[in-house]
């Protein structure tokens, strides 16, 4: 126990918790903490240009390292600007601790300058939050907050610290052991449930693994266990957007992503399966399509660390609450102990191969050097050019995100950072900043749309300040493409406000920030442009002009079943009934 100021306790706790990086922006109500940071050279503070970007950068840092991301912002607008990123982290289960300044305790509730009810506002977009009224509580709360953010289903935790609590002194106490009174997530799976799962998998004729972000969150060992179990059982694997990378995309058992923009083979296999093994995935509406038509003939096993995810949307036959990696390990052990060899799934694979034969990700394109670049081609070229470089890819949200998910292959976890649950435009670029900070020597590329990028484009300054070699690859089609695509599908192509008017000249913008700017206009320039981007040291922005009216297929339209995919533009009718229109 040591007597010190609240601000010093915050920084001491960060040091004790092994934090090396904080993303933040100073302001009146956190000045004492910033002053304490000044004296602590071991903690690197990354000064962002907007607090939302601090939260996304922290997410990028967390997602690419497995460690919690840490954010420090001031009261009022600092806290409210952070709310989008906090919500994003909640929906995608990203461990994050956000420290917010607050007005002094005597001023709370008086509409003081830069006051907002931070704990009230963030109550439902955090896993947990605290308002610290006593400096003696800071030590235990800091340590408990990191424990809660990183244990069980990870998520964001907010600690709101009034300015006088930062200035006042108290005893800094490190709790010997964090044994929370009520928060005790179940990590070890139930042995009987594991035995039942082994029997169900062994008996299945048409099994499929449906994996999600939980496998990534459970660490690299969970991905390894998934690969082992798939090899043992011989069953096909599909994954959600958040789960990409847990299973290698070049493996013959890989069917690609499932869901709204998933592959035909993944969705058909889900629909026709007799057993779904869901691992760390949550049956999101983007995955299931129309619920009453979702995989009607299958038994379902659901492995999840969060009991509230089980039976939330789709009723399952066997629930296994626990860590995805531990559960997969236990199933492997049970499988081997029972001496199962894996059934002959030949007939099932013949059907899967039949669906694969539609080649649903193919797209029409011209091959001449002066032809427009199809956005899918741009992603494939980027993938080809970065093979062997083990890049970290972040995306913004929209068509480019789906094309990246479809056409960029991932073979390891932690290389794919995207906003899945909240679908936050403006996520990708700051996330790439966080990933690059954590991995200074790796190739980090943000695949962006020209519209999304502008939502946090101010972070170009942050990149310049810290000399980060981030690469932004814009698929520029001059449209909010996914909005336009839905307007074509649903509203007879009435393009209400979906055109990206008055775009900046991205090359000149790069120049203004001291970056390198490149422009790619046609197919003939594509490979060379990507090569130059990779070989150019420092930050590079690539304005890759792509075919403007290309749409993202295959697609399950709103309210449709897995079996009712639109495979090409000619499948689009241009309107929908109100029931379908009402779905997001």
């Amino acid at each position: 126990m040591t007597e010190m100021s609240g601000a010093d306790m915050v920084v001491q706790a960060l040091v004790d918790l092994g934090v090396d990086t904080v993303f933040g922006y100073p302001g009146g109500a956190v000045l004492p903490i910033y002053d304490a940071l000044y004296k602590h050279p071991t903690i690197k503070h990354i000064l962002v240009r907007h607090e939302q970007a601090a939260t996304h950068a922290a997410e990028g840092y967390a997602r690419s390292t497995g460690k919690p991301g840490v954010v420090l912002v001031t009261s009022g607008p600092g806290a409210t600007n952070a709310v989008t990123g906090i919500t994003d982290a909640l929906l995608d289960s990203i461990p994050m601790v956000v420290l917010t300044g607050q007005v002094s305790t005597a001023l709370i509730g008086t509409d003081a300058f830069q006051e907002c009810d931070t704990v009230g506002i963030t109550r439902h977009c955090t896993k947990h939050n605290y308002l610290v009224m006593d400096p003696d509580r800071l030590g235990p709360i800091m340590h408990e907050a990191f424990h809660i953010a990183t244990h069980g289903r990870p998520g964001p935790v907010v600690i709101d610290i009034p300015k006088n609590v930062q200035v006042a002194t108290g005893q800094y106490v490190i709790p010997e052991k964090i044994a929370h009174k009520s928060y005790r997530p179940q990590v070890e799976p139930d042995a009987d449930a594991i035995a039942a799962a082994v029997a169900m998998i062994a008996a299945a004729e048409r099994p499929i693994f449906y994996t999600g972000g939980g496998v990534i969150n459970a660490g690299p060992d969970a991905s390894a266990a998934l690969r082992q179990l798939v090899a043992l059982t011989g069953a096909p694997v599909t994954s959600t957007l958040m789960g990409l990378g847990a299973f290698p995309s070049d493996d013959e058992k890989w069917l690609g992503m499932l869901g709204m923009h998933g592959t035909y083979e993944a969705n058909m296999a889900m629909n026709r399966a007799d057993l779904i093994i869901a691992v760390g995935a949550r049956f999101d509406d983007r995955v299931t399509g129309r619920l009453d038509a979702f995989s009607p003939d299958s038994k379902k096993i659901h492995i999840d660390i969060d009991r509230s995810s089980i039976n939330k949307i789709v009723p399952v036959d066997l629930a296994i609450v626990g860590d995805a990696g531990r559960a997969l390990d236990a199933i492997i052990a049970g499988w081997q102990a029972a001496g199962h060899n894996g059934r002959d799934l030949g007939e099932w694979w013949r059907r899967v191969d039949g669906w694969r034969a539609t080649r649903c990700l193919d797209f029409p394109e011209k091959k001449e050097p002066d032809a427009d670049i199809m956005p899918q081609r741009a992603v494939k070229a980027l993938f080809d050019a970065t093979r062997g470089l083990d890049p970290i890819i972040t995306t913004e949200v929209g068509q480019h995100q789906m094309w990246a998910a479809q056409h960029f292959g991932f073979s390891a976890p932690g290389r794919w950072l995207t906003s899945g649950g909240l679908g936050t435009m403006g996520y990708g670029f700051p996330a790439s900043v966080g990933a690059q900070i954590a991995h200074p020597d790796r190739l980090v590329i943000c695949i962006a749309g020209e519209a999304s990028l502008q939502m946090n484009i101010q972070e170009m300054g942050t990149v310049s300040q810290y000399r980060l070699p981030v690469k932004i690859f814009i698929l520029n089609n001059e449209w909010m493409g996914m909005v336009r695509q839905w307007q074509e599908l649903t509203y007879e192509s009435r393009y209400s406000n979906s055109y990206s008017d008055s775009l900046p000249d991205f090359v000149k913008l790069a120049d203004a920030y001291g970056w390198t700017g490149l422009r790619i206009d046609n197919l003939g320039q594509l490979e060379d442009g990507i090569k130059r981007m990779i070989e150019t040291p420092g930050p590079v922005i690539v304005d890759c002009r792509v075919a403007q009216l290309a749409n993202c297929f295959p697609m399950i339209p709103s309210g449709a079943a897995h079996t009712e995919m639109l495979l090409q533009p000619s499948d689009v009718t241009g309107t929908m009934d109100d029931e379908a229109k009402a779905l997001v």
């Binding site: 109550r123 439902h124 308002l131 929370h180 009520s182 928060y183 509230s308 039976n311 009723p315 109100d578």
Partner: protein, 172 residues
Amino acid sequence: MKIKTEAGERHVLAITVDNEAGVLAKITGLFTARGYNIESLTVADITADHALSRITIVTSGPPPIIDQIIAQLDRLVPVHKVIDLNDAGEAHVEREIALVKVAGTGDKRIEALRMADVFRAKVVDTTLTSFIFEITGTSDKVDRFIALMRECGLVEVGRTGVVAIARGSEAL
């Protein structure tokens, strides 16, 4: 297009939580954010050191929604335990207190007093032109008493909402 809602069944949940600022807001906010019903809610601290509170919530929904409500409550950090008292069938006791103010003179006043006696309601305050009755019982009994008092000059009602506890020697 019309928006459809599903009919549900009534459940009584007993929840123990840390007795700290914001917990009640967390729980009621969860109900509003996820579109669950609250028919009644009571809360008070229940331990000598004031560390724990017990919340009784009466809610309604189809069985999968009730299951989901329990799972969502259970994962909140300050929540210690959530029990669905309906799981024990009828094996729990529910009580509610109402204070019922009736104003009037003459026959109606006498009738009110007579019915209060039938319902074993106590008179806790009286003037020449009014009574305040205290009635304890199930919500159903309280409802019926209040309905009768409407005919006898009812002017004001205050109700506590339901508290409930499982029968037998086992504790929550």
